[in-house]
Amino acid sequence: MTQVLPSVSLQINGQPCTVAADATVLQAIRSAGLHVPTLCHLDGLTPVGACRLCLVALEGHPKLEPACVTTVAEGMVVHTHTPELEGYRRMAVELFFAEGNHVCAFCVANGACELQDVAVEVGMDHSRFPYQYPHRHVDASHALFGLDHHRCILCTRCVRMCDEIEGAHVWDVGYRGSACSIIAGLDQPWGEVEACTSCGKCVDACPTGALFRKQDATAEKQPHPERAQQLAAARTDHRWRNQ
């Protein structure tokens, strides 16, 4: 006999919804057919609450909370698109664009980029924050893939994908503050990291054009963000794609 999890009822943007008691607010939002933007979140990977785009307002709660890591509670009243939140989200997206070197015109992910999608979603027609033009580099040492740090938004989806799904933990984060970067191995050229299985899952998980297949040229990247969830489900629930 399967155990039925207790469920809780909450209200999102005035819409009632009922979800499992251990669901996150993000799951509840999606189950209600609603939407908040996300970048660091990827179904199938441990949420980290880093991009802050999915922050929501909870009535009676003094702080904004990230929907991806907040568990639902009975009677919770959630607002996903207050003017305050919309203002913060637009600023957040501008900060993302300004801190890296995101030049869509010749990016491998142009047209298939989650950062681009979020910019359009929040109505960013320009960045009020000056572009920083950080001096970053491209790691083309791997035979099949490349990492263009200019386009990295430090969502760490690749880090978690490689650690949690592939189990290789090739990626991690090095340095701090605005100097942070994704590092391979012990900050080695990617191609020299023996732990890399060349599975390409990190490329699939990358929301921008930072990780790419070398054969892909401008606007040719085809990301597969669904793979993390598929593989996690296959492993934990023994559910396979062809079933």
Binding site: C104, H126, Y133
Partner: protein, 193 residues
């Protein structure tokens, strides 16, 4: 007795090409036959693709600006057009974000600076023969150390990003302004790259 009908003065319209590839103007030309309607509705007073006038005139109502501000000429023209135009539109990704011309800013904080680095690369390192820096004072404008998006140089009233913005979007935008309405906003009006 009726007063003779005086046609309302036509909107004085300009387009400007700063540091960009002219692709936004090409997209503008993709408006095809609607350009005839536009030409009937406005007076084109300055444009690299529709006018021969060399000096940016006074009293412009609406000015589309393609391109980033990358050199002394761009800077002078940007300041001039702002002073002489009622409504300035940042037209396309280069004007909005500095885009590809802005890439040399990556070397702005590096030894030698962005100006020197880009000239060295373009005219000396990659030259097959006759390698030399361009030098023609008064003819070849000096590069600025940093390439700037238009709104970091002058006040901008509207932004129309895209590389280039599609002809449909340009038309929707201009039609609204010609009707005296605020330009349409929202996701349909936004694209990058």
């Amino acid at each position: 007795m009726t007063t003779p009908q005086v046609p309302p003065p036509k909107l004085r319209f300009a387009t400007v090409w700063l540091a960009g590839c002219s692709g936004c103007h090409m997209s503008f030309l993709d408006l095809d036959e609607w350009l005839f309607e536009l030409a009937a509705a406005v007076e084109i007073v300055y444009s690299p693709v529709a006018s021969d006038i060399k000096v940016f005139p006074e009293g412009v109502d609406l000015c589309l600006v393609e391109g980033a501000v990358a050199n002394a000429d761009n800077l002078e023209l940007a300041l001039q057009l702002r002073a002489r135009s009622k409504v300035v539109v940042s037209f396309g990704d280069c004007a909005v974000s500095a885009n590809v011309p802005g890439l040399r800013n990556l070397w702005a904080g590096v030894a030698g600076g962005s100006r020197q680095s880009v000239l060295e690369r373009g005219y000396v390192e990659l030259a097959d023969r006759g390698a030399q820096h361009p030098h023609a004072p008064g003819i070849v404008p000096e590069l600025l150390e940093r390439v700037l998006p238009l709104h970091e140089v002058i006040a901008v009233d509207h932004f129309l990003p895209g590389c280039p913005p599609s002809a449909e979007r340009i038309r929707a935008f201009l039609e609204a302004l010609l009707r005296g309405e605020p330009p349409p906003e929202g996701q349909a009006m936004l694209s990058f790259g």
